[in-house]
Symmetry: C2
Subunit: 554 residues, 2 copies
């Protein structure tokens, strides 16, 4: 037996101690040591962040630690540099500034949205090294394995004098970030919208938080999940009818997640009308892992929905959520408790269906939202749009999909992963393509693999205005390809279909047109929508939904 080697086993904690001492030596420690004056934030950041640190700047779909991000971008690149950012979302201009100004040079993330073009440019200029694009839950997992942050800069609604935090309805990523950082010798700094003597509830214990700073203005929140019903087209109504009758009803889908977009908003708005007329109330769409979409209000009010667990909240929905505590998860203070980690877990393992949209799909069913010149990332879609092989509980929808995929003697079920797209998107760009832009983007990024959002072998159905392709029933890659071409309409790949083979697939129920489903496209009018405007949604909510001003046109 060898003697143990001499080693310092406490270096992370010692480093933490030195950082806190530096802050204290600058007078950055009040009576309880946690409240930092807003005009000293740069001093604090420069005292506790070291070159080469792994930093998580909390940014999610919605809640953004924008003040801390801007403050960090204003720090001296002489003092702070070679940072590695590990965070869900790179969405703010100041996030990109960190790279342009030389403070950070590496990024592991999930979603970049509006900053996708600037990010692609930085990659081309070799000013940023992208570790990987993740799905949220994957990145959270790495926080506890090999990408643990040294410093977390987070956003909370309020803090008390001890440093306890109240997150309000937008919990989002905060618990995952704080837990990983606080328990591995890291530093946690929270920007808060207000200081309160007594918090409505404690969401993050003071023990886990090192510093709080009252931000000059409330943290930025993006109403990312709000879709104005006025913009839903009749083509989307038709697709929604097909999805409800041809998939939701046939599989009896009760537990699900909807992606963002007008396609699924149309489904939400057809539940109280078209789906109710089909007798589906109580039989579909009862349990959701979903942000509080305003377009879900009519379905909730009509009694379709039993429970909704949310990743985060949505602007204007707070009063409505509080008044519907049987449906949403809320605290004793009445406000919602969301949590991205748990909702993504529910989306992965407890939902029978994920349905969402994409920008491109190839003939193997691989889809991507990556387009040339933009690195946008994936968000939660890869997680929720994958068939979890670890799932062991059965449900009718999962078993039926499993039998379709693997035959009558299937030893497992199958998740329904539905891609819902119009054959052409804006500027008449075809959604269905022979080769995804992701392959080009892989070269640009120098990535090991193309940034595919959902792999084709996880997709069960493709819904377009032309019909539904059931990929589960395809028995060869050729059948799969022709099933996709069969619903690709007048796109070049749609026109290149083998007509005889597609007719054969139609005879076997693999490709189904609206008429095969007993749907008359002429009935697909906006009159079917339970709400046809944001004002209608407000009315459904009994005045509880307070849409942001940009969605108010009355």
């Amino acid at each position: 037996m060898n003697a143990p080697l001499p080693r310092n086993w406490d270096s992370l904690r010692q480093s933490r101690g030195r950082r806190l001492e530096r802050a204290a030596s600058l007078g950055l420690a009040g009576k309880n040591g946690k409240e930092i004056p807003v005009d000293r934030i740069i001093d604090l950041l420069e005292a506790v962040i070291q070159p080469g640190d792994r930093v998580c700047l909390e940014g999610n779909n919605q809640k953004q630690a924008d003040f801390l991000s801007e403050s960090l971008a204003d720090c001296s690149p002489e003092r702070i540099n070679h940072l590695s950012l590990v965070q869900s979302v790179l969405a703010l201009p100041s996030h990109v500034d960190l790279f342009e100004r030389g403070l950070a040079n590496r990024l592991d993330f999930s979603f970049s949205g509006p900053q996708g073009a600037r990010l692609a440019k930085l990659v081309q200029e070799q000013r940023i090294e992208i570790g990987a694009i993740h799905t949220y839950l994957e990145l959270f997992g790495r926080y506890f394995l090999d990408l643990t942050p040294n410093v977390a800069l987070i956003a909370a609604q309020a803090a008390d004098a001890d440093g306890n935090l109240y997150l309000g309805p937008n919990t989002e990523d905060t618990p995952a970030i704080v837990e990983a950082t606080a328990f591995k010798g890291g530093i946690v700094i929270a920007q808060v919208n207000e200081r309160l003597e007594k918090l409505p509830r404690v969401d993050v214990p003071a023990d886990w938080v090192d510093f709080t700073v009252l931000a000059p203005k409330p943290n930025y929140i993006e109403p990312l999940f709000t879709r104005d019903p006025a913009q839903i087209t009749e083509v989307q109504v038709l697709m929604a009818m097909m999805a409800i009758k041809g998939i939701y009803a046939e599989y009896g889908v009760t537990r699900l997640n909807h992606g963002i977009g007008f396609d699924t908003a149309a489904i939400e708005l057809l539940l109280p009308t078209y789906a109710a007329d089909l007798g589906l109330k109580g039989k579909i769409c009862t349990h959701w892992a979903l942000n509080p979409h305003p377009t879900l209000i009519p379905a909730i009010e009509s009694g379709f929905v039993e429970s909704v667990h949310c990743f985060g909240s949505e602007v204007g929905m707070d009063a409505y959520i509080s008044a519907r505590s049987d449906v949403f998860f809320t605290g004793a203070d009445g406000s919602m408790r969301s949590n991205r980690a748990f909702s993504q877990t529910a989306g992965l393992y407890a939902c029978d269906m994920f349905i969402g949209s994409t920008l491109q799909m190839d003939m193997a069913g691989n889809s991507s939202t990556a387009t040339l010149g933009r690195i946008t990332g994936f968000g939660g879609a890869p997680n929720m749009g994958s068939d979890p092989h670890g799932r062991r509980h059965a449900s009718p929808a999962w078993l039926k999909a499993g039998r379709e995929a693997y035959g009558p003697n299937a030893i497992r079920g199958r998740k329904l992963v539905v891609q819902m797209v119009e054959t052409f998107r804006e500027h008449m760009a075809p959604v269905f393509v022979e080769e995804l832009d992701a392959w080009q983007l892989q070269k640009t990024m120098g990535a090991e693999l193309p940034p595919i959002m959902i792999y084709g072998d996880d997709v069960s159905h493709v819904v377009t205005e032309e019909g539904i392709a059931n990929l589960l029933l395809c028995r060869s890659p050729e059948e799969r390809e022709q099933a996709i071409r069969g619903v690709a309409g007048f796109t070049p790949v749609g026109l290149a279909r083998d007509k005889a083979m597609v007719e054969n697939l139609r005879d076997r129920g693999i490709v189904r047109r609206p008429e095969d489903l007993g749907i008359d496209p002429r009935q697909a009018t906006r009159d079917l929508l339970a709400a046809r405007s944001v004002k209608d949604l407000v009315r459904w909510s009994g005045g509880l939904y307070a849409p942001p001003s940009r969605f108010r046109n009355w």
Copy 2:
């Protein structure tokens, strides 16, 4: 547009209010309303639990709310009945008593371990309805979707007067259970080992907890992950050598999880010796999602291990963990912060390899720990032993496995899922079988599907004393079957192998014998183990590891 229907949207919260009022009317509310005298616990349970409730009785691998479980079992089945239990582990006799005494009649769980035989008997007597057997993370996901508890009975180390909880090193399932229950109108009751004026740290805020009770004795903890090196056989040393040289080294596996058992304990004890001699220090086994196995101590002390995130703790390891804060996640109080939900997430998405054992494997590679007359469940194996299709970040191990599985143009990588078994287990029962007992058990349980722990198509390698079968390289179900038979030794299915085909597989490197790996079985002696006894482990730990008495024979 239809008018909203009249509905009570606050029924869960109102029910909660009535339960709390019933408790208060019995005087079960102290000055702050949370501290309950131990002799009033049955009154409290009968006041706040209603027939038909969904109840989570915290039980995990180790930490058990045993006092609350026994107290619930002593409640009147006239008052409390038709409970549905939703909990990770059914491990205590009192858990089964709940069914035998008529308080509960439905169970959703993950693992039953020692109660597997009694559980099977209850099923046969139709006194219990099993919803499903889950993997842990799957059950946690359902807590937030369709299996949210009405009442959670949990275990904590300590409470303060306000009801804040300190969990100590065994966090395990507590955060997932409490969050789901507390924010959906449920009731949370914690048994605690001690009451403290000031907690070492706050793990669960008082806002989330309704009642605390000082248990008559500390909650039960099982040292489930401790393996005495004295019991490791030379066959296990040989298998460990093959795994290290033929899999860990070849794929460069740095991020991993080990199952429980002597097979993987042998690997842990060969890292400082055999693996170090192969020059693998720093190249393999650096980042772990793993409970603090005592057999990992020599690898940690030898500098192999950078980081370990744990599901829970292990008896006797607390002082060692505190003194190794660079490796483990610990709080400001020095004790560990574990968390099953996050560690399972890391095991799913951030690990490149899962390696574990099983009791049976069929010729498709499906494996199960279910044997006739016992319903034992799965624990975390289905989750960590599955290839996560949502993963998007690359690593050398994952890419190499992907290329082997899908060819050089693979668009995704692949997790390594290794099953490590001796061909015969105790009583000379063959591990390799034509048909799993799970099929019989399915009938007994009236389940929709057989209880398969890991599906064959997720398994990448099978390691036995006969060699390694690389299933990734098999190109047909026939090759797969023969590769498995090829390492099944003298079991009947091993003897029934097609010798020519197995030799062909060996020529192609799909089946590899020890000699193919340059391993001389005569060198596989216990001398290679870095520790050959529990006493050796204590010595490696510098006296910090304090094994439970049953592991002390000196």
